[in-house]
């Protein structure tokens, strides 16, 4: 690794190796991206273009494409709007006021971002489903025969889950910007005679506009590519592009149409990512919003107190109740197991957790669900190693070469949906040696691609913050290039490395979209197992799904806490 401008490299043969060490620095991650990201995507595009040219654009095809596309845009728009409606006041409260329990709330608001979609879907099922906490309570309270709240498989539930997921983004982006606003601008406006609403409209909002725009774009992008939530909470009636790709590929076996939809999906998300990168992406987004600008103060007067308390209550209700319901339902027995025709004794039980270790049907057929946990763990560790090494090489490569477009390159997997990636993988990696059966690393590779942008985004600013003189000083003092890296770079980057490792780990644990295409039936991951168990009838299966989801939620929660300690 040489930190000298390579243009000047006229060293004699002795340094030949070190000169070309710089070459494989960027070659390896680029090869990785080329083989595992661009090549499968190319196959997807080939499929789509092939079909478009042979089948032509009949009205039929147009309808098959337009329908999911329009719905995707529609639900993403609605979700974004609703998220803003909740998120903006929340950002305001968190940015401007201090109150007891604020730090807890701040950490809580980060939790949804790192929760896997499957956990969120199961949690909402446990809260609002026909056998969910609210319905059961209502049925018991009012002695009803049928669950009164029929929100499963409705658009409203999808929107609610999206708001749950994405409010945190608005809080983080807009909240950070808000807390850093110079309050004297607003004060000057008031001195000049503007009322509060005028101040908000003419001063605050224009200043916040870039961050609001950035947050809205990001939320829209995430809602646009939402998969698990739509699949599990929307049911067969709602099909976004992602879900339609999944359906067409795996159920209807209509790969060309799936390819066409994927191509359109890719173009849309690429466009969105580019717009977002242009517009919003200037500052590093803190993982946990530490909104302690100098302008924060405790609420005064009953109006402000009401606002703060109300906001906190709403946030808590939205963020905590599904997760609490999930945990609660996983230890409650209310219904019969599949095929269990005798009477059921309702009550608290750890049975569903115990069952995770037992093979359900006499050990001929299933593996015990805990095996799925072991598989997930193995995949997650592999993903962490792979994405960290690729990410490391990438950020070092970006230091010396033209940085901007390389950065854009490694951010691209963020825009490509996991489902499209899965489709691409099964299109090109279906023969030995790189197929699902012979290449067990296929799943971690897919996970690494999803995690890579986050790793790069975490490591890069830290690496850039190391002053060049530090490395030069170490070299002059006698440290060989390897030693320099060990003594200077590594200690500074250690925290960032740990945060990236945890991020990759949790992303891999919860990845669902691509894995549903790639996982072998006998090596399921936790999300796949949860999905399967959810589709099986009976309380035992449902309970096990809940138990696994609770475990996954707990692991993610612990990760957040650890990352919180690391980031600050």
């Amino acid at each position: 690794m040489r930190f000298i401008a390579a243009r000047d490299d006229r060293r004699p043969i002795g340094a030949f190796f070190t000169r070309y060490a710089g070459v494989w620095l960027w070659l390896l991650p680029l090869l990785f991206l080329g083989l595992f990201f661009f090549y499968p995507l190319g196959a997807v595009f080939h499929l789509a273009i092939n079909w478009a040219f042979t089948q032509g654009w009949s009205v039929d095809v147009w309808e098959q494409v337009a329908h999911p596309l329009l719905f995707t845009v529609w639900q993403a728009l609605l979700s974004t709007l609703l998220t803003l409606v909740l998120g903006l006041p929340a950002a305001y409260v968190l940015a401007r006021y201090t109150f007891p329990g604020k730090t807890v709330l701040q950490v809580l608001t980060t939790l949804p971002f790192i929760l896997p979609t499957i956990v969120v879907a199961v949690a909402f099922n446990a809260l609002l489903g026909p056998r969910g906490v609210i319905n059961v309570l209502l049925m018991q309270a009012f002695n009803l025969a049928n669950p009164p709240l029929q929100v499963m498989n409705t658009l409203g539930l999808i929107l609610l889950a999206h708001v749950f997921y994405n409010t945190t983004i608005v809080i983080r982006i807009v909240g950070s910007a808000w807390s850093q606003l110079d309050q004297r601008l607003e004060q000057a406006a008031r001195v000049l005679g503007a009322s509060s609403t005028k101040v908000a409209w003419e001063v605050t909002l224009p200043l916040l506009r870039p961050s609001i725009l950035a947050a809205s774009l990001l939320v829209f992008l995430f809602d646009f590519t939402s998969f698990g939530v739509i699949l599990l909470l929307g049911g067969p009636h709602f099909a976004t592009l992602e879900v339609e790709i999944y359906t067409q590929a795996l159920q209807m076996l209509n790969l060309p149409l799936a390819g066409l939809l994927s191509a359109i999906q890719l173009l849309c998300t690429l466009l969105l990512t580019v717009v977002y990168a242009r517009l919003g992406d200037k500052q590093p987004i803190p993982l946990i919003p530490r909104l302690q600008g100098e302008g924060t103060r405790p609420p005064r007067g009953w109006r402000q107190k009401l606002l703060v308390a109300g906001m906190a209550a709403v946030l808590l209700a939205l963020l905590v109740s599904p997760l609490a319901a999930l945990a609660l339902r996983s230890v409650t027995r209310l219904d019969a197991n599949r095929g269990e025709r005798g009477p059921v004794i309702p009550g608290l039980t750890l049975d569903y957790y115990r069952q995770l270790f037992i093979n359900q049907q006499d050990s001929i057929f299933y593996v015990p669900p805990v095996q799925a946990a072991r598989n997930s763990l193995a995949y997650a560790l592999a993903t962490t190693g792979l994405s960290l090494s690729m990410g490391f090489l990438a950020v070092y490569a970006m230091r010396t070469r033209s940085r901007r477009w390389m950065e854009a390159l490694f951010m691209l997997p963020l825009g490509a949906s996991a489902v499209t990636l899965g489709l691409g993988f099964i299109l090109v990696f279906n023969r030995p040696p790189l197929d699902v059966r012979s290449f067990p690393w296929l799943v971690p590779v897919a996970h690494s691609l999803v995690a890579l942008p986050f790793v790069v985004r975490t490591l890069q600013p830290v690496l850039l913050s190391i002053p060049g003189s530090l490395r030069q000083a170490a070299a002059v003092l006698g440290a060989s290039p390897w030693r320099v890296w060990l003594e200077v770079d590594l200690p500074v980057m250690l925290r960032a490395v740990l945060v990236s490792a945890i991020l990759s780990f949790t992303i891999s644990l919860g990845e669902f979209g691509a894995t549903s295409f790639l996982a072998r039936p006998e090596y399921p991951t936790l999300p796949i197992a949860i999905f399967r168990f959810l589709s099986l009838p009976g309380a035992l299966n449902y309970g096990q799904a809940l138990a696994m989801a609770t475990v996954l939620m707990a692991v993610c929660g612990i990760s957040i806490l650890i990352m919180d300690k690391m980031s600050v």
Binding site: A5, R11, A15, L470, Q472, V476, V492
Partner: protein, 347 residues
Amino acid sequence: MLEVGDIYKNYAGKPLLQGVSFGVGEGETVCLLGPSGSGKSTLLRIIAGLELPEAGKILWDGKDMASIPVHRRNFGLMFQDYALLPHRSVAENVAFGLRMQALTRAEIQARVAESLEKVHMAAFAPRRVTDLSGGEQQRVALARALAPRPRLLMLDEPLGALDRTLREQLIEELHRLLQTTGIPAIYVTHDQEEAFALADRLVMLHDGRVEQVGSPAEVYGRPASAWAARFLGFNNLIAGSVAALDPLRVNTAIGTFQPAEMPIPIPALGSPVTLLIRPTGVKLAGNDHQVNQVSGVVEDALFQGDRFRIGLGCTLAVSLQFYLPEPLIPGQNAVLVIEASSIVCLE
């Protein structure tokens, strides 16, 4: 010892150093003096091996250093921004170079203590470097550079970020340290006071070339060119032409002057030269006409503690400055006579 041979270096496509050569002898402190952006720091980095020149050689004891990588040259470099490892303590920072040399733990400890003692920072050994003030950090950086006993010490504008009193104090300490350790050193600065205080020899850089080499006294006494004189802070520079050679007489716009010494090389008759008139060595002229007189209107008279700085406007274009023990009244005409030794003929 160190021989810098004809170094050429480009920066951003434009030439920065254009054939710089000088040497550093045993126990000698050489100061690289020049304005900002003249390539002094780059030259240091080239010597250290951190950058490569387009052409030229760096020789140590006659041996070409081109094949020796940075970490094996055993030179010391003190950076402008100190470049201390932030996550380490003072002692660990100082020990860094020693660890690279694979000394035993005991040796390292002893040397660290010795180094810190030299810079009067022994008590700070366990402290985090981020807790230290600028001057303290500078000392630690110096100790760190000295600890591995480098065969050459290079200092890159080390006092640039410090305030005046601290700087003067550190200059003194540095001077003493360099004398006692006897390490050959290259000191880079744009401040000529530092250069004069520390250097055994001065190398002035201008436009990528060596303008003048000499001891501080030599350089001060005889700047090689008008540019050098201006850089050293001399204001009274007048263009003129050689009127006679023996004795040397120069015609200028404000009169004819007779410098005390003949410049080397001897200028041709009628060739253009620049006269440097030192601000000291003047007094009010008497009534008799003498050589080396200037007359003009007193523009201002600034009190400077032990003397007055008088600005004399000789013509519309030329203003000279002199130091006199007593003030003159601004607005009045004055005639001053200058000692011959205060007049120097430059190229």
